[in-house]
Subunit: 105 residues, 2 copies
Amino acid sequence: MPKAKSTESKPKAEKDESVVFVGSKPLMSYITACVTQLNRNPDELVIKARGRAISRAVDVAEVLRNRFMTDLKVSSIEISTEQVTTAEGNTANVSAMEITLVKTK
Amino acid sequence: MPKAKSTESKPKAEKDESVVFVGSKPLMSYITACVTQLNRNPDELVIKARGRAISRAVDVAEVLRNRFMTDLKVSSIEISTEQVTTAEGNTANVSAMEITLVKTK
């Protein structure tokens, strides 16, 4: 059986797109992840979050932009609603956000 | 002395702009506030929030748009960093967000 993880592809995202998913870890974990992604692919970075992590995603984008990589700018922000299945099998709606950052030079 | 509250003006906001500040109250309080504002000024509504309330502001925008006023669309979302003074007199940075909603018809 092939290793599913290494060959896994994300059809939704473009190939050149770097994505960082923000959850409930400390802020600096995501800053580090963003800097790493931007070193590999300096053109574009998408920060995604759902539910309560949305506030943290905004913090990540702002701290990154103001302190670590001042040549970044926000190119677009999108909000949406996603359906998730809870552990009990119910479906719930949760808000989601995507912040796209690009380098200005 | 004149009643300050009734003559109070907000120089930052345009005159036609309706603003709802989202804080830590239940979601439906803000939905109601948004519907009220949109009945008075149907053209544009700005939802503002800071810090952890940012996630709730996204919920307000999404629930309003999907369930209550389906003719609304997001015209722009902006994020920024604001300096606030804590009760101890220190300054702290806090992320802020503004979601602008407009009617499509």
